[in-house]
Subunit: 235 residues, 2 copies
């Protein structure tokens, strides 16, 4: 959970010749990578709105009433995350619309790119992209001063069990769907990592800074692979 | 609020020659018109899902972040009504999916008919149709045994103030929009009254029964006219 706060991440990437000063290295790492709270919360809020729209679209085109019900309920949970982030922005004295507006163009473009060719690909997009981004934003908001509560809200589950079940049902009926979703799941991850990456400030000291970001992205990739595995898809 | 329970509504339509027995007439009226609770709740639940879908579609195509925010919040409130009705069906031992499934074909067709030609017509549809139907279902569920709580939930406001404001803003920018919405508001009402009417059982004694339903529909029409007035549209 607490990668940015974890001691040692930065140390691996220190020049080998230097002495052991993990505390100091860590502090530099945090200064370097901790983003502006309002910018991060604005991005997270608008991303939740995008996930909400994708889920409610999937609910409205669901083939069964049960699927419609569980996807609508999931949409409601995602909307609650969005509202919690807006409340957090309000409580920090920020104009939440202004905080989101700087991100709308990039995020709208992102959601167009991860829109699937059919209902199942859309479901897979929701599962993979919200999984990765909620992990990520849950973690970085957890590093903000007073961010524990909003981090817990962003990290909370929003119906992933039901979505996995719907995808598993689809694959059991159509074996070719699995290979299609495996390709789709791999295609999504690049744009999604870039979306996560964009929340982090450009490091003051580029090569060393990027090296510190690398393990973060590696860990997100590993979590993505676990989600692929959960669906029985080889990542 | 309590038309079905209100004394006297039925009396107006009694043959003039009979004596004054309002209590007895009223009881016959209720027996005749009180629908099956599970059927009504199933219809109300699926209608809320339709309103939710319309609102979340309007949110996703909203021209401003503020509109997107308020429509998403309204969608969340409508989803809460849906969930409350599902919980009510559960607590009455009903299979909520089965209770909704008998209504899906008619309701899907209805929502196709009331879909507007653009975003503003869609907003107007949401305002007029959910206004009328929430009034109606709030009232008939209020007459069910133990229906007070679910009636209050269905009757509760779900962002109508914001929708009225968005429509007013649109009309102030484009004066022709008002005449278009006036026509649209009149067109919607017929299908919406039929949707409400379909929740009531066919009276055992057709002409007298229909006469008792008439004031109900008249009252719904009057409320619709008030909503038109609120937008400055001549009904």
């Amino acid at each position: 959970m607490a990668w940015f706060g974890r001691h040692g991440d930065g140390a691996e990437h220190r020049p080998r010749g230097r002495g052991r000063e993990p505390q100091r290295v860590e502090r530099v790492g945090l200064d370097d990578l901790t983003p502006d709270p309002i910018a991060v919360l604005g991005q997270a809020a608008y991303l939740q709105l995008g996930h909400f729209e994708a889920l409610s679209r999937a609910a409205s085109t669901a083939p069964t009433l049960e699927a419609k019900g569980s996807l609508s309920a999931a949409a409601g949970k995602v909307l609650a995350k969005h509202s919690a982030i807006i409340a957090e922005l309000d409580s920090r004295g920020a104009d939440s619309s202004a905080a989101m507006s700087v991100h709308t163009a990039a995020i709208d473009r992102y959601f167009e790119m991860v829109q699937g060719a059919d209902w199942y690909e859309d479901l897979a997009s929701i599962y993979f992209t919200s999984g990765l981004l909620d992990d990520f934003f849950g973690r970085i908001t957890g590093n903000l001063d007073g961010g524990a509560k909003i981090s817990a809200s962003i990290s909370s589950d929003a119906g992933s069990e039901d979505i996995v079940q719907l995808l598993a049902d689809g694959m059991s009926k159509d074996p070719r769907l699995a290979s299609r979703l495996a390709v789709w799941g791999r295609r999504l991850v690049g744009d999604t990592l870039l979306m996560a990456r964009s929340a982090l400030p450009h490091p003051v000291n580029p090569p060393a800074g990027e090296a510190r970001i690398e393990p973060v992205l590696t860990e997100l990739m590993a979590d993505h692979t676990r989600r692929m595995d959960r669906l029985g898809l080889t990542a």
